[in-house]
Symmetry: C2
Subunit: 337 residues, 2 copies
Amino acid sequence: MQNGKNKRIYIQDVAVRDGFQIEPRFIPTEQKIALIDALSQTGLAKIEVTSFTSPKAIPALADAEDVMNGIQRVPGVIYTVLVPNMRGAERALGCRADELNLVMSVSETHNLTNLRMTREQSFAQLAEVIDYARPSGVALNVSLSCSFGCPMEGAVPKEEVFGWVDRFISLGVHGITLCDTTGMAYPTQVYDICSEFRQRWSAAELTLHFHNTRGMGLANALGAIEAGVDRFDASLGGLGGCPYAPGATGNICTEDLTHLLGLMGYDTNVNLDALLACARQLPAMVGHEVPGQTMKAGTVTDLHSKPEWFEEVAERARQKQAQQNSLATSAAQAAAL
Amino acid sequence: MQNGKNKRIYIQDVAVRDGFQIEPRFIPTEQKIALIDALSQTGLAKIEVTSFTSPKAIPALADAEDVMNGIQRVPGVIYTVLVPNMRGAERALGCRADELNLVMSVSETHNLTNLRMTREQSFAQLAEVIDYARPSGVALNVSLSCSFGCPMEGAVPKEEVFGWVDRFISLGVHGITLCDTTGMAYPTQVYDICSEFRQRWSAAELTLHFHNTRGMGLANALGAIEAGVDRFDASLGGLGGCPYAPGATGNICTEDLTHLLGLMGYDTNVNLDALLACARQLPAMVGHEVPGQTMKAGTVTDLHSKPEWFEEVAERARQKQAQQNSLATSAAQAAAL
């Protein structure tokens, strides 16, 4: 396992979209804007700001336009938005999103369950969105749900995933996100799929989107990095969740990933302290604990002070040892006589 | 990242010692015995049964003798016990432990804080225990706390760690455990230290003991495996904790590790379903949620059923698509005319 040697890894936060969308408490628009503005200052490569879905479907993100129009954009940060259909694309372009993130599932059952369409219907709809949006010059990314398995169908053959990748790349999208929607991916699988993807589509921007549902999220990120992946979705505080696994954690945690990669010698361009300050606002904002670990434990370099009684105990131990040493020396001298 | 190709990895559970020792609620002796007996049937290589410390210091494990004498030993499983000093060694041998696990810290500050002795005093005391226990033929393992960093001192030089390893190996112990006591290790560091250890002491039984304090536990296990390590301490349900990080998780979780390694093609010899059944008893036993993820989410191969309304929605989508296809065919035919 090699040191990262300052290789750049791009970190993309999805908490305000993938995390907030399932929070039962509506996060006030001004709080969303303030959090995004704070995140914009941390050095993240991309922020998924909101979703242009029907407000009836996802009331938590009903303020999509207000959030997009309220944030202060920082040059260099890509502000991306989730877009399910043509109406969403119109709204997103109306707000000058930097990127449209289109989504469908590579599992027929999951696509029918989640989007109530066959995959072919989703593809046709997204192809229309791509046709419509391309002239605007906006960046186009496609997120493929269940790329590492479907919670209802089980394994999804790699060739099935690559078939959809190929169709979207042929339509001219610049980026593909392979999503492990319900935390089924494991490191050797991730390595294999990512290696082949990189070989077949070396020019495409490839993002990996992991959930930590079964605790494998960061291990999967290492598998992806070994295969040459340099771009990850992650969620501040580990927000997000999995409707199929109550009590399970959500997306991989942005600050835990950033902390890990920094220690391993990668350049994430992210100010970890600033990111942790953002994460520590979350519990009050969402009204419950969040899964992030580094925000609770501190970083590896955050040292703890010695207990108050330390010096007294240490002094007593040292005195005792000095006595033992002097006894040992006397015994050695006696033996030498 | 290579498939494990059925390489054997030895899983050692420490929950009833490292986990239970910090639980505020005393776990009744018969519950401990029943849990250990259930764990003995899962295929684990080793179980750390209890600690022969003063009952005043760790009241949660005051029933060490009763537990050791009450369990049903399964051939092939090593029953190890923590032993801090000579009195503990006498008690452990009196209960016919298979292995004594001796402990000290490679950080002077941590050793003084945790054991109230200098490291030299700890070493002298453990050397005495080793001398005393060796004739009995009992296996002897030394656990070195803070091998990847001290929460008060910070980084611990690798040569410092290896100095203590060398001194204990010279005394004839068969096994060494490098403990990441407060979750400071990271994968590239783990890989480097473990690679060098394996090179210098190829005959020693090397165990890695990780905590998941900052979410890096399973990633660290992958770093260790890449360096040739084949033996891990882990804790059922992820029980255990870190007094320096309230809210942080404890040891790496036995069933999450077993699940991960199985998916990657390693042979852990562990029946995961039986292990999960044990883990799912824990919340009622300790009176709170535990960090394990697989016990909540199920394994990757535990499929979920489709929602009740699935067939109706799917049928409607398919009909709509058939109409679209037939319209498209008509249009194509019309165009061809």
